[in-house]
Symmetry: C2
Subunit: 598 residues, 2 copies
């Protein structure tokens, strides 16, 4: 395995390997889609870590994990089927390799996980190093900040590598970034460093000696720095693309037991010119570096611009996913009403509650999987006081290639039980606008969930109103299919074609909470299928079941949702197949129920 072989490599060989890895990453992402910019930036630091430390005895924890491709290539995963069904995950995953202690797709947890590993190791008397690789943007997340600030005593043999690729600079106003920079950018040191570099060759013995002096001086200059106060010996900043410097510094770090924060400065997209020039564009891409098209996000972005032009109370809030949720245009057109918090979902939601209290109508746009990071703020800060915050929950349902950590399958179950909160699911982009307006009129907390990918408009039978919550998109006899969400409704209509001449009723259940009680009562006694892209447990089908139980109505209900297991990377359609939620699966169920009727 490469990870073993490189122990014997010299710097020149490592440099050559770096270029090979870089080429492979570009090719694999071109073939499969994936995260490009951050992975290209982390090649040398990954190589240096593998050269100096001994994984998996030592532990390497990736925060988020979209910097882990070089690590995967070094540890026997060729990424030929990256993010494809049955292929390699785009994130670290212990099920894939012993070199990955943790799965990680959200941000900010690596330091906590690492401290936990150290706690266990220290109790067991182990001496292995635990190393976290975290980006500067992730460090601003609440979990990471809690982990850094909770105790000034950090475990020994614990190394946090801060991969500073300037993403917070892109944000341009992070206080954390300012705090870090102030603590590190000492003019005197820079001059000293520059003098040394110019004067002596770094490969000479004296150069190596000087390097040690250099770090002592830096340590002294920075002794009161940000991270020192948090219990770390601060080392850096180090050029994160200079393998020679990286290896030397890491060798020093390996020799000491004190907890260390190593600050490396890298360039996103390093080595692939288009990604260097526009790292955001190449952060996550599809096959052939295509930009993902997303009907709902696009529609939401346009809609928000329109509504904000007409209503000065409307503002948009998001957390480090401006492009993803479709807010780029809004951000440009309404900068004073656009609030981007960095990877701080909890802060985003609590701030939105404050804005709503102040008379605004904040629209919080987050992916379903990240919304769960603000669950407490949704309950405590928004819903108890019934403040009119609208949540636009993007990437609800199967998300495809991002896999287990990113599925949007929980939102219905954790949202629908919250008092004062309405939960909506449009069948198409046109209805997204209707539901948006409906939520604005009602003026209470609401969430609108919709999937990624393409969705065609299905036409409108009857627009939403207080008297018409659900819409019978196709009338019929016998079986009633209660479909909630865009993909579910489209598949239900498709299933109806498949079972022809059987004639099930297809209902677009665009409000998950409240339910359309009148309609539910009307169809009581029918064979009913509740159909959605979300976990069955506690989901939309459960709401229907609870309604009939509460009303002591007879019910013959089949719930079709995702079974209770985590769903790995694959195409979103393949994920639906794996969970038996395709139009075909529904058609089979409808047939079976009609047969039972006779």
């Amino acid at each position: 395995m490469l990870a073993e072989e490189i122990k014997n490599y010299d710097i020149k060989q490592l440099k050559e390997l770096a270029e090979i890895l870089r080429g492979q990453i570009v090719e694999r992402v071109r073939e499969n889609g994936g995260h490009l910019s951050s992975n290209l930036g982390a090649v040398e630091i990954t190589l240096a870590l593998h050269k100096v430390f001994s994984f998996p005895g030592d532990k390497l924890i990736f925060d988020v994990g979209h910097q882990s491709y070089a690590h995967k290539l070094l540890t026997g995963r060729d990424l030929s089927r990256l993010r494809q069904e049955g292929g390699e995950s785009g994130f670290p995953d212990p099920e894939e390799s012993a070199y990955d202690p943790f799965i990680a797709g959200h941000s900010g947890t690596s330091v906590a996980l690492g401290i936990g590993l150290c706690n266990a190791r220290d109790l067991a008397g182990g001496k292995e190093k635990v190393i976290c690789l975290i980006g500067d943007a992730s460090l601003g997340n609440g979990v990471a900040l809690e982990s850094v600030f909770s105790s000034e005593k950090k475990p020994e043999n614990f190394v946090v590598v801060l991969n500073d690729n300037g993403m917070s600079i892109a944000k341009n106003n992070s206080a954390l970034y300012r705090a870090i920079s102030k603590a590190t950018a000492k003019k005197r040191y820079r001059k000293f460093n520059s003098f040394l570099s110019k004067t002596f060759k770094e490969t000479s013995a004296f150069g190596r000696y000087l390097r040690k002096v250099k770090y002592s001086v830096k340590g002294w200059l920075n002794k009161n720095a940000f991270f020192e106060r948090c219990g770390f010996k601060y080392v850096g900043p180090v050029n994160g693309h200079d393998l020679s410097e990286l290896c030397a510094v890491l060798e020093n770090i390996r020799a000491i037991e004190r907890p260390v924060l190593l600050h490396v400065v890298t360039q996103k997209g390093k080595g692939y010119a288009p990604a260097e020039e526009d790292p955001s564009r190449y952060h996550g891409v599809g096959k052939n570096f295509s930009e993902s098209k997303n009907s709902f996000s696009d529609a939401l972005g346009k809609l928000l611009c329109e509504r904000a032009a007409a209503d000065g109370r409307i503002a948009a809030v998001t957390a480090a996913m401006t492009d993803g949720v479709g807010l780029s245009e809004f951000a440009e057109k309404f900068p004073e009403r656009f609030f981007e918090t960095g990877i701080s979902e909890s802060y985003a939601v609590a701030m939105a509650a404050g804005m709503a209290k102040g008379g605004m109508r904040p629209v919080v746009c987050l992916y379903s999987t990240f919304l769960q990071r603000a669950y407490d703020q949704i309950v405590h800060d928004v819903c108890i006081s019934s403040l009119p915050v609208l949540f636009c929950v993007d990437r609800a349902g199967f998300v495809g290639a991002d896999g287990k950590t990113h599925q949007g399958l929980f939102d219905v179950s954790f949202l629908r039980g919250i008092p004062n909160l309405d939960v909506y699911a449009p069948k198409d982009c046109a209805e997204l606008a209707d539901l948006f307006d409906f939520a604005m009129e009602r003026g209470r907390p609401a969430a609108i969930r919709y999937p990624n990918g393409y969705a065609k408009n299905l036409g409108c039978v009857r627009r939403i109103s207080e008297n018409c919550l659900w819409e019978i998109v196709s009338p019929g006899d016998g079986v009633a299919v209660l479909a909630s969400g865009a993909r579910a409704v489209a598949r239900a209509l498709e299933a109806k074609k498949l079972v022809s001449p059987l004639d099930p009723m297809i209902v677009n259940c665009r409000t998950v909470s409240p339910l359309d009680e009148k309609l539910l009562k009307e169809i009581a006694g029918r064979q009913i299928v509740a159909f959605e892209e979300g976990y069955e447990s506690g989901g939309f089908g459960g709401a229907v079941a609870e309604f009939y139980a509460d009303n002591a109505l007879p019910v013959r209900l089949k719930i079709m949702g995702a079974p209770k297991k985590f769903v790995a990377h694959a195409g979103a359609e393949e994920q639906a197949q794996a969970c038996r939620l395709t139009a075909g699966d529904l058609a089979l169920k409808i047939r079976a129920l009609f047969a039972r009727e006779q």
Copy 2:
């Protein structure tokens, strides 16, 4: 209203009023129970804020809110029925007073809420001041840290008052506290300050002039301090019990537009000797300052000590609620296996995941209402990888006097749908031990939920095992009551007495996930009542409904849980009454169902 009158008070009158307020707080808490120490510490700063600013035009936001009693007394709430049904809430609440912009019972959200209010104000062109009062312990919470660090640009006319009562010192190792202290405790300034104070009377005109000089000097000395980097003008530290100094400083702050962080140092329990000496003991107390007795927390604490003595892998993790969850003895006996993170629930859970990965068996003890702050870590860091973390979910169900923000009614609905996670609910303390051992044997993620207050042991018919998940605590014919949780089982047995000679079957549903499918199939066709202290939506009853639907079994099910609304402060039993969840309510339901049978 006092808040108006004190505008005309001089410092002497304010000081007299402070003592009166303090006396009232002590008396009202003695009569009703409540939070004592933190409220006593915040009397002068509250008075000074009301003297200098004009609420509710200006906005005063309490973080957590257990410092708000003086504020309540000043704004027309006499606290005579503090925390009683229909009386004053123990926390700020907009439904109670226009002087309370937000409800707040959890920690760390005030800064985000304040920034949100400022955003709305600035767009509307307002000039009112927005002021947050936050404790130093709350500042360490992830939401607060995100709010402080997300942007280096803070709104104008925004004041954060950091009430530094040394609670982080109690923790003794907070890095945040160290960072703040290093940034403020400048020896030179202290000497200068002490010289000035000794030399000039603070009431003299020259003294007032000198005060200005003093703050300029302090500002200069601290210009690179922690909070300056976060976009605040730092002012302090100020003696938080010196009304004269507080008013003078606040007057200065009122005159400037720049965002300010005012650091005041206060003493918890100030003015009431027992609380000064042992502020933790008097943090939250019952009537007559009684300490709350809590069978389950006590039992859990003892159990953990026993099991930890026998099993070196077991560790305890909590977040600023060591006493509350019963871990004081454990912390003393096993300091190396006790991890207390401060108000950092997310960090606590992610760290526990790391410990579990390292071979330990961490037991995370949190109140139900605070567990929801770590929902993402439960899903993402613990359950996807199925790491053996055991969650002991205290204060599940109605919590009584703490009210809306603290109810433990969500946990079943947000936990039971998470793949790989078992959810248990013991009927009594003896069974808590059984379920604890059962969870340890199974070695997968699990949560055990139990209420506060007293619970008597109900005896054991059959202990839990893989083949006997639920327990028929009282056999019977006709109606089957599926009771989940200690209070539900106790009430079900009570209800059975009330309906005698009717003979319902009473089942102790001690596993919410997985369900006892065998037993559910056996009783299919009966009239069934699912009974629990948790929200109906998505709760235990929903799980039962989903099971019967999935298995196409006929079902006549009545779900009895909390209806979908927030439940205000009152006794826990009164809350059960308000939600129609008493033994009497259940008895009525059982009678009605028996009648339907005939």
